[in-house]
């Protein structure tokens, strides 16, 4: 199965797109979309899973329904790159459930955090009570999400 990866044909791409929209599509439904027999659609899905294109299937939750009304991006500039201090910072980031993603970026902001909070007070506690007091942190700038303009992230295929 070395070369099933080199090129995704158009059907593969549409299959991946369909499964990004609904992971519970049956082989029969996939076949209907792709103009394939159910067995071929199922086999193709299996191939793409085993080839590593599909890493898993996840439930999509509604943040507002869960009481998470405030979504924000927080840029964190580090005061130091001292490994010890950065490690304790990393532990905090990993431990806090309200920080759902964290990236290191090129440019002047060292970290970008994506956070979900119940309300503005929660965001303030995170920024001023947790991040800013940390010895490794120099500066924090938070930007609240006003609107999710483009819906989340089907990867381009």
């Amino acid at each position: 199965m070395q070369d099933s990866r080199t090129a995704l044909d158009d059907t593969d791409k549409r299959l991946l797109a369909a499964l990004q929209g609904d992971a519970h599509l049956t082989a029969e439904a996939l076949g209907a979309v792709l103009n394939l027999s159910p067995s071929q659609a199922g086999r193709r899905r299996q191939r793409l899973e085993q080839a590593g294109y599909i890493t898993g299937y996840a439930a999509r939750l509604d943040p507002v329904r869960l009481g998470l009304g405030v979504q924000a991006f927080v840029q964190v500039q580090m005061a130091t790159h001292d490994p010890d201090k950065v490690r304790t910072f990393a532990r905090i980031v990993n431990a806090r459930p309200d920080i759902v993603s964290a990236w290191t970026l090129t440019g002047d902001a060292d970290y970008l955090l994506r956070v979900y909070c119940e309300d503005l007070a929660g965001l303030n506690t995170l920024v001023h009570g947790v991040l800013l007091p940390h010895p490794a942190v120099a500066r924090v700038q938070s930007q609240i999400v006003m609107d999710q303009f483009k819906p989340d992230a089907p990867l381009p295929t």
Copy 2:
């Protein structure tokens, strides 16, 4: 079922967490995790779906496997808020598959875009060939993701 929504009990939260990790967990597997019978686990899942906590199930893809080696955040400052020009900008954002998410933020950057590109050349084309030339755009700053520090986004429950 009016009040099944007001408060999620601990079992509900663990169920949501489990399904965020793997949407294909069977009712039996869920029951094993939650110490419930399969029928009760399935029933609980159904309730959470109907109550709107779960909005759907999606396949998670591997961007690198798909040949998308460069991931970046692009901040776009608008030159104008003229509705017409903003609309054409919005159409471009929605049309381009390499822009997977777009948010409007508080602060000086008007839009934050999350993009996946094959390589740096692709990102450059997007920034200098598509975004900057647009009449509504004043300034663009792209920051490439070096490392995804915290894995993507199970929502806190």
